[in-house]
Subunit: 674 residues, 2 copies
């Protein structure tokens, strides 16, 4: 791979025409120059540590990937970190996940430990946290059951208090009560933070968290009464041992009820302590954080791969008398890729704002104030749902835009897409999340009839003029116009769903049935709310950003593209609700086409700013130098199927028939066959 | 798995309330009772033949799946067929693919052999066909190159005529000219039907088909000058050896140019023979046939799984004072599943009509008449693109509607979805197909200004009143209204794109640039055209069908649901173009909700009519008896990760740290650790 191929030349030329400083944009995405430097240092250390390298994941079995992820994760945490002097609270930690690629203990580190901190007393934290933080116990958070997901009250596992022994007896009364799905549970964990119904003297007290040891500390064998294992192959997450756990008369000491919010005295007295709302805090936190790591980052990777590849893949003619063009010159291709690139930025800005809001909330919680929880819950649930939906759809669009090679694992795209699809389901199934967001919106819209609202729903009590006065496509690229349009559409969508339900109730339908029947309108309202939030916060963020004029121009264009793509993809709503006329819809399309044209020359520069190393991207199509075809060929040659020229396992079946063919073609006659 | 679980009871109850004869619907889908009987016989023979069984595909490596598919395919064709007395032209053949599940030689049987028949002289057919039909040679069709896909003129492989030796010398001049992707090529094929640029005395004569032997007939090793292998892992098709093929100075005899349409005389004289349009026939044929096998059938499987599972999966409350309900009772869930069920039927009816049209065309071709090719090409290209898009999206919607368990390979859904995604790319990338369809439509719309059109585009010259007079949601369930609406929308979409381009050209934009800039409108026009075709042909098919009244009612409802779901998902177009008012859009939504409600009680019966055996479905969620949870547990226990209680490979890394934890928890102190 020494010579400069035509593809490499094309990518060089693309980079020559970029109108802004890629490095400046990278710094903005990272936060500032210093953060970029820390991130690069971490990525560099990991890329250059031979123990952190792995074979091609696509050529490994699930079991090999699982063991390999375990090896690398433990090496990173227990060897590399201390060696580099990086501490768990240091600035390097947040870049580890990006650098390590496939790693494990996501639930142990991301849910089990935080839950100990949230639900445990100081004494419990003092006992369990140091062990967990140091990986001297491995734990997981066991809530979901084989037969029960989002509906918490439906969970069947019970913890019965045995006063005589001061123990809880844990049982899964039926097969459907078996814990199912928790990551790290199948083979790694020796403890679980188990959610179970607390029962004292036959009385139910609702869901509580219990620390349950499930494997022997010396042999790692399951303890008596514990049936535990891996739930089998999934669409992705090959390296994670999502598990099942069936508990029969497993006894744990009374002290293992995590007792920050409620406790059971030795005599069986049940005491509630503190604000029960704190129970929801950890779910909100997980959703807030997953947007950056599991939606924005993988979508940015997918866009990097697809844009670079589209800049070097030449196919077909635009002008019949000229040469073949890079597919990125096709407007249809730009229309697939650039709105997804724009989504990366706007989701990033909106997620930043949500993280800030969550941070402010956490400070308030410490003062005992949880009044912001309903808004934060609605926003984080809705945003997780809508952005995971947009992100997964976007990644699939760009994968498909890479044609046949996008279907090859060598592109790196199948891995990204299949993993992103999970974000639509885990940590709150999207439809459930959208309906919870909608419930908040309907309540607020009702309140807006009397009160002026503030915060993320302020626009529901904004009664200013509804009509859009845009007369040219240029008018429709104005940030203020785009924000207004999104607010109006969201308000109409919420009001429309609310009104429909009211009418049904007026006509005698029970409210819960009306809610069910109007579910798709409610989901639409939640989506509209989140889109206006993303557009609104992004516009504010960009306008307040201090950066070069050339960069501000690009970001403003990307923001307008995101907004216009939303409008054009949902123009039914905008027209039906009277936010746009048919003629204005036409202008909105023109405005989007115009932005595609303006952004085209900077496309490669924009994805370069995401600053993914080739080592992190793991893509033959997306590498920085554009040498796509030689890389694909080299990658293919390593496939296990190519270990030998003749694949003996399959050839044994084929050989007798092919030798018959030989005899005919070489005129040997059937009798001479081997 | 002996007891009747609550889930099994639920499915029994669903079946009690079905309002029509499931068997009658099955017969209609198969064609008639006799066809159903033949299909069941084939499925039965294969399900009960121990040699046709296989281990769980999800627990096998790609290499094992490849060898296993080879074994089973050859066994079926060479042992089972003759034993059962089934011949290659018998009625059983078309059901083999459905029954065998994972098989190989799709390209050998589906493209290589038909291409020999299409492009070969009688003499060539006599030589190659019997060998290929009998699997005594294995061939593939090698067109796509590493650097070149849909744009045929861009292909770089050349076949230079060597007069002295009466041979062609085949070369891939660059790495980008390497053949890439052909199925069965990597490890199985010993011949390829190679598409290459014919060169005689330095003059280029365009793409021609050559029979090229690539592997030794005795050893199966690649011949000198041949570099061949597998292209590596893909999103699906684990059992297929899609291959690469790099040819350097490979010589083949002059007779190996397939010469039905053109030949090269010994002295190098090039002669065109017959209608060159016949070249396109085989691509059309492949697209026509893949709709039934690769879109309708897998989508039907996915719907069967998701509907049955949704009928037994209980989660959450609709009425807060009642019990948990099956998720199929949620309108949001019905709105995800039932339109996909409807798509199965309408795509099936439309595909039937397309197959008939192709059959009629084939008869005309035999008389030398290829005048129907442009229409057939546009329709088959557009339909392949639009239905593969709808099908793949629909399968993913129903997969996601199964929540977490839909992400497990045990559901069978990841396998179906990932395979269906390929249909969007292979046999003509969808965007390219849609634009080819649009080019035909724009041409027809132009012609419609002067002439009355017939056939599938007749509506472009229909100038009757545009407005819809529907006043109730019932009006919008009328088949004739729905057909009209789709025709009007399609006509407007085609005209809109055409007018936009005309204006640009008038203002000085070159026509090819206008085409490029309006690509997304043209794609929209192609989609609109296909939707009207599917709705129109389905309405006609159902109205002409002789069947019981209860069944006709169901089919009419499904057809209306398909049409209304299209309208509501694209209502921007319908409103913008003045086909519907805002108020009518509201009615269209109500009409869709109403149909969901009407179809809900028959949902399980409808998917039962697809008549997939558990053996074919390979799904823990979709089995006929509804015993979802025990099946998932049994399936998970078989996972390779669960072979031992302690997964030693990974535990070796974890053990030292866990033993530290043990020492702390058991109070041994750090010094006593193992």
């Amino acid at each position: 791979m020494a010579n400069v191929t035509p593809e490499m030349q094309l990518l060089c030329k693309e980079r020559e025409k970029v109108s802004f400083s890629v490095e400046e944009l990278t710094n903005i995405l990272d936060g500032n120059k210093e953060e970029t430097a820390i991130r690069r240092k971490v990525e560099n250390v990991i890329a250059n540590d031979t123990s952190m390298q792995h074979r091609n994941l696509n050529h490994m079995t699930r079991e090999e990937r699982f063991s390999e992820a375990m090896r690398r994760t433990l090496y990173a945490l227990k060897v590399l970190l201390p060696r580099e002097g990086w501490t768990p609270v240091g600035p390097e930690m947040k870049y580890l996940a990006r650098a390590i690629k496939e790693f494990t203990f996501i639930i142990h580190a991301g849910v089990f430990i935080p839950c100990i901190m949230s639900y445990g007393t100081n004494e419990q934290i003092a006992k369990w946290f140091p062990l967990a933080a140091d990986f001297r116990i491995i734990g997981t958070y066991a809530q979901t059951e084989l037969g029960h997901g989002s509906f918490l009250r439906g969970l069947e596992t019970i913890a019965t208090y045995d006063r005589a022994n001061q123990e809880f007896i844990i049982n899964c009364p039926k097969i459907t009560a078996m814990k199912w799905w928790p990551g790290d549970m199948g083979k790694s964990a020796n403890h679980v933070l188990l959610m179970a119904e607390l029962v004292i003297d036959g009385k139910k007290y609702g869901m509580h968290g219990f620390m349950v040891q499930i494997r022997d500390l010396t042999t790692h064998e399951p303890l008596p009464g514990v049936t535990v294992g891996d739930i089998g192959a999934k669409l992705s997450f090959e390296s994670v041992d999502n598990g099942f756990l069936y508990l029969q008369n497993v006894r744990i000491p009374r002290e293992n009820l995590l007792s920050k919010l409620s406790e059971v005295h030795p005599d069986g007295t049940y005491i509630k302590k503190g604000n029960q709302r704190l129970m929801y805090g950890s779910m909100v936190r997980v959703r807030v954080n997953l947007i950056a790591h599991e939606i924005v980052m993988p979508l940015a990777k997918a866009c990097t791969i697809a844009v670079r590849y589209s800049a070097v893949r030449r196919q077909g003619l635009i002008n019949p008398s000229k040469e073949e063009v890079p597919v990125l010159d096709y407007v249809a291709q730009q229309h697939k890729l650039l709105p997804q690139v724009a989504t990366v930025f706007m989701a990033h800005f909106a997620a930043k704002q949500l993280v800030k809001m969550h941070h402010d909330y956490s400070l308030e919680v410490e003062k005992g104030n949880t009044s912001q929880l309903p808004e934060l819950h609605a926003l984080s649930a809705g945003m997780k749902a809508c952005l995971s939906e947009q992100g997964a759809a976007g990644a699939e669009i760009v994968r498909r835009a890479c044609g046949g090679h996008g279907y090859s694992c060598g592109s790196g795209l199948p891995f990204i897409v299949n993993r992103m699809l999970a974000t639509c389901t885990y940590e709150g199934e999207n439809t459930v999340m959208q309906l919870q967001c909608a419930r908040y919106l309907i309540k607020c819209a009702d309140q807006a009839k009397k009160d002026k609202l503030t915060g993320s729903v302020w626009y529901l009590s904004d009664f200013s003029n509804m009509s859009c006065t845009a007369q040219t496509f240029g008018d429709l690229q104005e940030p203020s116009v785009l924000v207004k349009l999104h607010e109006r559409r969201a308000k109409c969508a919420v009001q429309h769903a609310g009104k429909k339900m009211q009418n049904m109730v007026k006509n005698g339908t029970p409210a819960h049935d009306a809610w069910n029947m109007m579910a798709t309108l409610l989901i639409n309202a939640a989506r509209a709310h989140i889109m206006q939030y993303v557009v609104g916060t992004s516009v504010t963020y960009i306008s307040e950003l201090s950066c070069s004029a050339s960069l501000k121009k690009i970001l403003t264009q990307l923001c307008a593209l995101y907004a216009l793509h939303n409008i054009n993809s949902n123009c039914g709503d905008f027209v039906k609700f009277g936010c746009l006329t048919s003629a204005q819809c036409d202008l909105a399309q023109e405005a989007e086409f115009n932005l595609l044209k303006q952004l085209r020359p900077d496309a490669v520069g924009i994805v370069d700013s995401f600053d993914f190393t080739d080592d992190i991207l793991q893509s033959c199509l997306g590498a920085y130098d554009g040498n796509v075809y030689e890389r694909l060929f080299e990658w293919a040659k390593q496939a296990p199927m190519n270990k030998t020229e003749v694949h003996q396992d399959s050839y044994q079946y084929l050989q007798p028939y092919l030798h018959e063919g030989r005899d005919v073609l070489e005129g040997r006659g059937r009798n001479s066959k081997l």
